[in-house]
């Protein structure tokens, strides 16, 4: 079993414990030194003066809320954007990074958050894309395959074949390909933009092992993440960005208190805690009742019920079938057996229309591709599920829709508070709020939330949690899916532990902790 061998790997590693080098505070010894970099897009100032100093062999974490300028900073270092002002030095020399090629030549490789791989090409072809191993324009495939195998072995994924088409890989394995591509160059610095966002616990462990191997070899890692606990585990120093400015440079990752980091990121005091659960009334009616639901080859025999005001959480690893369960309840996938009942009404299989009609709302996992019309303004996105309400004789009444949207913006503290801003320009947290507002306006009885805080920073998370609680308190039956087990446990009244398309256990969330869930999942998969 993969999990067991991973444990062994890290134990071996501890024996060969890594000794920290003494790093002097000396700008001459820094690998990368960014000073006062600015960048504007049109009238929007994305970077207003960013400093970042990275030393060889360190893991340097960059923290910041969505919209703080992390992505712009990365793309500036990767040669995608050219800065308007400021200076970048590399190994003590001032440099201009004016193309992706220039960045790679310096020794800077970037793993982007959106998986930047080509589905139709094989693993080897993706890794050497743009710098193919070729002679006179003809590719040398066996050499590329050999080097790919070597890279994959180095990343602990020797079982992947270089010839596998990338389109058939899981998101986690695509990330491995992306990392192998970065390593296929002769690099001194690798930038990882939220690499753990698509990974589950085991895979994050493996990622960290790789990061440690890289830093052991003197390669610096700029690591971007929302998860503070990851910074504690892997980071050496932290730079914090807020509103396009650096608010702190080179904080020690292990010692800086969480409250301090959150204050630096948000400019205010925020506790990253889950809201109080109000006890669900024992006579609350069952709103959603799922019985024996099955989707051939994905999951089977899924039964649960949710009462009004109750939050039920599905905990499990990526690929366990949790998202598919939600999508099947919603009718986006056609169940092969079983039935879904909302109040007393049995829903026809595979009909989203019927599900929405019965009062079910879904906030999908891929917010950007499945949930939002990105280029449309906020008010259009909010009114999307209830267009009938805003139509008069077939013509849409935008004024009414804007009015409702404004109410929701106020209630949810959506920022920017402008109903005409395109959804694309909002941060992840605010985009999530749009989706919640959409269903609130539509009036739902059942809310299905798939990864409600993916890509949402710590500051906005607490707000989303509170909103989800409010929606439950208003009488909704809520089902939450998340890869972060802690989030499921903190948010839900009842937890269903899912593995390999089966529900292993149903129990009140206060009767189990994160380890307990993982234990169940591991045993379940092994069985």
């Amino acid at each position: 079993m993969g999990a067991a061998s991973g444990e062994e790997g890290s134990r071996d590693g501890e024996a060969a414990c890594y000794v920290r080098r003494v790093i002097k505070v000396d700008h001459a010894s820094s690998l990368l030194d960014v000073r006062g970099v600015t960048k504007s897009f049109g009238g929007v100032r994305a970077l207003r003066g960013v400093d970042l100093e990275v030393r060889p062999g360190e893991v340097h974490c960059v923290l910041g809320q969505n919209g703080a300028g992390k992505s712009t900073l990365i793309k500036t270092l990767a040669g995608v954007h050219r800065p308007d002002g400021g200076q970048i030095s590399w190994l003590g020399d001032d440099v201009e990074i004016d193309s992706p090629q220039a960045a790679i030549e310096l020794g800077i490789a970037t793993m982007y958050q959106e998986l930047d791989v080509v589905d139709g090409l094989s693993i080897a072809e993706n890794i050497f894309l743009g710098h193919e191993i070729a002679k006179g324009g003809f590719t040398r495939r066996s050499e590329a395959a050999r080097q790919t195998t070597e890279l994959l072995r180095r990343l602990g994924h020797a079982r992947l074949s270089p010839h596998t088409e990338v389109g058939s890989l899981s998101a986690a394995n695509k990330q491995i390909v992306s990392m192998a591509r970065a390593l296929s160059h002769d690099i001194k610095l690798i930038i990882m933009d939220e690499p753990s966002a698509v990974l589950d616990t085991e895979e994050v462990k493996n990622l960290f092992a790789v990061v440690r191997e890289l830093t052991g070899a003197g390669i610096a890692v700029v690591y971007i993440t929302h998860r503070l606990e990851e910074i504690r585990e892997i980071g050496d120093r932290i730079t914090v960005l807020k509103d396009g400015r650096t608010t702190a440079v080179g904080l020690p990752a292990a010692e800086t208190p969480t409250a301090e980091l959150i204050r630096l990121m948000t400019g205010r005091e925020v506790a990253n805690v889950f809201p109080e659960r109000a006890p669900v009334a024992s006579d609350a009616p069952v709103v959603l009742d799922v019985e024996g639901l099955e989707l051939d080859g994905v999951f089977s025999d899924v039964s649960f019920s949710v009462r009004a005001g109750e939050v039920v959480g599905l905990a499990g690893l990526v690929g366990s079938g949790r998202s598919e369960i939600l999508e099947t309840v919603y009718g986006a996938r056609k169940a092969t057996a079983g039935r879904v009942r909302v109040r007393d009404k049995v829903l026809p299989r595979g009909s989203v229309r019927a599900a929405v009609g019965a009062g079910i709302g879904l906030s999908p996992e891929e917010r950007k591709s499945q949930g939002l019309v990105l280029d449309e303004p906020i008010f259009v996105n909010i009114s999307l599920a209830s267009l009938k309400r805003f139509a008069k004789g077939g013509f849409l009444d935008d004024r009414a829709a804007r009015k409702i949207a404004r109410e929701q913006i106020d209630a949810f503290e959506l920022r920017p508070a402008d109903p005409d801003r395109p959804a694309r320009t909002l941060s992840g947290g605010n985009q999530q709020k749009i989706l919640l507002a959409r269903w609130l306006v539509h009036g739902t009885d059942v809310l299905l939330l798939d990864e409600p805080t993916r890509g949402v920073d710590v500051g906005a998370r607490a707000e989303i949690y509170a909103l989800i609680r409010d929606l439950a308190a208003a009488g909704n039956a809520v089902v939450v899916v998340s890869s972060e087990i802690e989030e499921v446990l903190g948010l839900a009244d009842v937890v269903l532990v899912v593995a390999d398309g089966r529900i292993l256990r149903t129990l009140p969330s206060h009767q189990i902790d994160e380890h307990g869930v993982l234990d169940l999942v591991m045993k379940g998969s092994a069985a």
């Binding site: 991973g6 920290r20 003809f138 440690r212 051939d296």
Partner: protein
């Protein structure tokens, strides 16, 4: 900067026993069918089916070696165009102008030959001119699309109309007869009993296969079509590559112009009318995705052969071209439906 005296956490060096998730459980037959080999297998079956129908309904006249060569000859010109089209479609583009560029090239090449040039220059100049016109028109397409950020559909639609008009002006709506005997003899000759036209198709297909599967150009074509942003971030000059792709379809149009000049011994602005649709149909039936990112030259060759064989079966059975057209339409829809069935990942409703 404070320096921790004891590491708060152990750094570990990974061993080779990293965590590898179990490969997705997909039945072998499904993996085979959804791979490119599987898609091509389906095409082979379809082609064989049509051949069997032809052999049964038209008997001797269909299965004769001569008739096989007729089919291949008819497939050859569309085939060359379709090979070029495969590349732009894999790259996520489309070229609607191939037919009229082919007509234009045929007119310009014949005009050059009937004028003074004919006496002083060898007939191979006609070929060079036709290819140059094709590449030139293709480059214009490519520049407008890549650097002018015009949607490929519109840019090449403009070229479709414009090139045809230009060909009419140059030819003054007449058919220009090729006088050069050397050219005609060469183009209508054969090697080892197989027509030159068929050889040209075979060579273009083989070169196309090598270009797509064994060169950096082909690799980058798939990347541009599959994930344009990833290609750009990998340091590929996407604009230049896009431009070159349209030059490539232009080149194929030029080659097709030479072929049709040889076969009909005349250049006219009506050469290549609606060829673009036949070519696109063959490419799509051959399994190349219209949205780009995936496709094969082998599949395109089969697509072309399927249509050519089908129309031959209809001719052998004395069925009208209208019936043929209906059958073609049905085949396109069925082929695309079948592909979706087999290439769909399991578990999706």
């Amino acid at each position: 900067m404070s320096e921790p005296t004891t590491p708060t956490r152990a750094r570990t060096v990974p061993t080779e026993t990293g965590v590898t998730p179990a490969p997705e459980a997909v039945p072998a037959w499904r993996r085979l069918l959804s791979g490119s080999a599987g898609r091509n297998l389906g095409l082979v079956v379809a082609l064989l089916l049509i051949v069997v129908i032809g052999a049964v309904t038209a008997q001797g006249s269909f299965t004769s070696l001569d008739n096989m060569l007729v089919i291949l000859r008819q497939a050859s010109i569309i085939g060359v165009i379709a090979i070029g089209m495969t590349f732009v479609i894999i790259a996520g583009g489309i070229d609607l102008s191939v037919g009229s560029v082919m007509g234009l090239a045929s007119v310009v090449a014949t005009l050059a030959a009937v004028q003074d040039l004919a006496d002083s220059l060898h007939w191979s100049m006609m070929i060079v001119i036709a290819l140059a016109v094709g590449v030139g028109a293709g480059l214009i397409n490519g520049i407008v699309i890549a650097y002018g950020n015009v949607v490929a559909f519109m840019a090449t639609l403009a070229m479709l109309v414009g090139a045809r008009g230009l060909a009419e002006i140059l030819a003054e709506r007449r058919t220009l007869v090729v006088q050069d005997r050397g050219f005609i003899t060469f183009m209508n000759g054969d090697i080892l009993g197989v027509d030159i036209l068929i050889w040209i198709f075979a060579i273009v297909a083989a070169l196309g296969w090598v270009l797509l599967n064994r060169t950096t150009f082909g690799r980058r074509t798939v990347a541009v079509g599959g994930n344009r942003e990833a290609a750009r971030l990998a340091g590929i000059n996407v604009k230049r590559h896009t431009m070159l792709l349209y030059a490539l379809t232009g080149l194929c149009s030029g080659i097709a112009a030479v072929m049709i000049l040889g076969r009909t011994t005349a250049g006219t602005s009506t050469h290549g009318t609606l060829v673009e649709l036949d070519a696109i149909a063959a490419v799509v039936v051959g399994g190349t995705l219209l949205i780009g990112g995936r496709g094969t030259v082998t599949g395109t060759v089969f697509g072309v052969l399927i249509f050519a064989t089908l129309s031959n079966v209809f001719v052998q059975n004395n069925l009208s071209s209208s019936v043929q057209a209906v059958a073609k339409g049905v085949i396109i829809v069925v082929a695309v439906l079948l592909q979706q069935r087999f290439s769909r990942p399991p578990g999706r409703g």
